[in-house]
């Protein structure tokens, strides 16, 4: 009986240790920024979302993003409505997510101020379509705060975004996505 208790206590202790050790390496924010730009000779469209939830593990390098489509703000309210209602169908597909890895996370010293770069690769999911994307991320470490920036391009047609022929010249087939977030470690 005593042995069983010790075993249980040991297991519990180990789990606790594992948990602390694990969460120690997690950096996150709920106010990440994602902007997109669509440049065509006819029209420039831009929007940004400042309520992006994102986190990464400094140990495994796993990196995640999640944002609500309706949080993308346009200068033009009608354009924002059409973006949600006609193109992104945000009632049916409310979120866009990214789940991937900072490939060479071990080369980044999060305790030492500096600028590091690493390839970031993973799956971007928009309108229930998952596609592999990869880009180079830049990580600026200053006093425990990690600012991460990355730019990549997506084609709306890859993600089941339907664009009428008449509108097609106004929307780029290579939409630039700019990601910029300040992460803080949750054990500081």
């Amino acid at each position: 009986m005593t042995m069983k208790k010790i075993a249980l206590a040991f297991t519990a202790l180990l789990s606790l240790f594992a948990f602390i050790n694990h969460s120690g390496g997690i950096y996150k924010t709920n106010t990440g920024n994602i902007s997109f730009y669509s440049y065509t000779p006819v029209k420039d469209i831009r929007a940004s979302n400042h309520k992006v939830k994102t986190a990464f593990s400094s140990e495994s390098g796993q990196l995640q993003f999640s944002c609500l489509i309706k949080d993308f703000e346009f200068k033009n309210a009608l354009m924002q409505e059409h973006f949600n209602e006609n193109y992104m169908e945000s009632t049916t597909y409310p979120k866009a997510t990214f789940d991937g890895f900072i490939t060479s996370v071990s080369a980044i010293d999060f305790n030492k101020d500096g600028t590091y770069t690493s390839e970031v690769t993973g799956k971007l999911k928009i309108k229930d379509v998952s596609k592999k994307v990869s880009t180079t991320g830049t990580f600026f470490v200053t006093g425990g705060i990690v600012n991460a920036k990355a730019t990549f391009n997506v084609n709306p047609y890859d993600y089941n975004v339907k664009i009428p022929k008449m509108i097609a010249p106004k929307i780029s087939e290579s939409i630039e996505i700019i990601v910029d977030s300040d992460y803080t470690s949750n054990n500081k």
Binding site: A7, T11, A55, S57, Q64, L78, P94
Partner: protein, 295 residues
């Protein structure tokens, strides 16, 4: 013997635990983010494609600093046939616009050929349909409209008061977007006429508007609108305004193409002055063009 068993169990537990721990670290399933969007309040958008259903107002408002320029045409009656090219020989129109002071407060002005009417309104959205935390099932709007009939006096020899030219319509618009394609609206309406033809007619007329839209394509919807006047308020030749049409959206424009028995594009007109009966072919083709300008 007993002790050995415990150690054995402990070992298995440890192995299982470690396996679980490592699988967690290296699997894609690990959720780093607390990502529960049900906590978020999400307002319903695009209950209708534009701020009119057909003749009457919908709960939609134009956003702050946006101007929605509207041209509304109603042609002659279809029932006169080919000689009038199904009514296209005749047209009445209203030119006007809605402006967003805030996202929820709109004002508008217009001028119609019918009774040379100048009109203005103020419209306020006080309730927004939403889901998530503190959700709300409906959108509510109040709308107050005033029109000025600027025709020459029919009897210039008698004393005529300016106030006789005025009429008012107040509406409570309640709408719900039931699904991404279907929305419906009910609009209790009070119309006040400063002058009526005789003592038997009421100055205050209560009616109820019913409107609905069903999207049939991403950018096209079918719209229905009916204004029911509660009985014994108005002269017997009046009929209820019934309209059926399409909304077609093309980026910055919304085209509304419809058939209606009302001749008048402003509230008092289509609610109380409609005389045409659908069964007699007293139906008119009409269209509204809405163009949004951004300031």
């Amino acid at each position: 013997m007993q002790n050995f068993d415990y150690i054995h169990v402990l070992r298995i537990k440890l192995i299982l635990f470690l396996a679980f721990f490592y699988s967690n670290v290296f699997s894609q399933d690990l959720n780093l983010i607390d990502d529960n969007e049900s906590k978020e309040k999400i307002y319903t958008i695009a209950t209708f494609k534009t701020n009119r259903i057909v003749n009457g107002h919908s709960i939609e408002t134009v956003a702050k600093n946006e101007f929605d320029f509207k041209i509304s045409h109603r042609f002659g009656v279809v029932g006169n046939g080919f000689y009038d090219l199904f009514g296209l020989d005749y047209a009445s129109m209203r030119m006007g616009g809605d402006f967003g002071i805030t996202d929820n407060l709109n004002v508008g002005l217009g001028r119609s050929t019918v009774q040379k009417t100048y009109d203005g309104f103020i419209k306020y959205k006080f309730l927004k349909q939403s889901k998530g935390q503190k959700s709300c099932p409906i959108t509510g709007v109040i709308m107050s409209h005033m029109g000025i009939n600027s025709l020459k006096w029919t009897n210039p020899e008698r004393e005529n008061l300016f106030t006789s030219r005025l009429h008012f319509t107040h509406q409570l618009l309640i709408a719900r977007k039931f699904s991404k394609n279907f929305s419906a609206q009910i609009s209790p309406t009070l119309t006040h006429l400063n002058i009526v033809k005789n003592n038997n007619l009421a100055n205050d007329i209560i009616s109820i508007g019913i409107g609905a839209r069903q999207k049939i394509l991403t950018r096209v919807s079918v719209n229905f609108e009916y204004y029911y006047i509660l009985t014994d308020q108005i002269d017997e030749n009046s009929v209820n305004a019934l309209s059926l049409g399409f909304d077609i959206e093309t980026g910055g424009h919304v085209f509304q193409l419809f058939f209606t028995n009302a001749n008048s594009p402003f509230e008092k007109g289509f609610i109380t002055d409609t005389r045409g009966k659908w069964i007699d072919g007293d139906v008119r083709f009409g269209f509204n063009i809405a163009r949004i300008f951004d300031f």
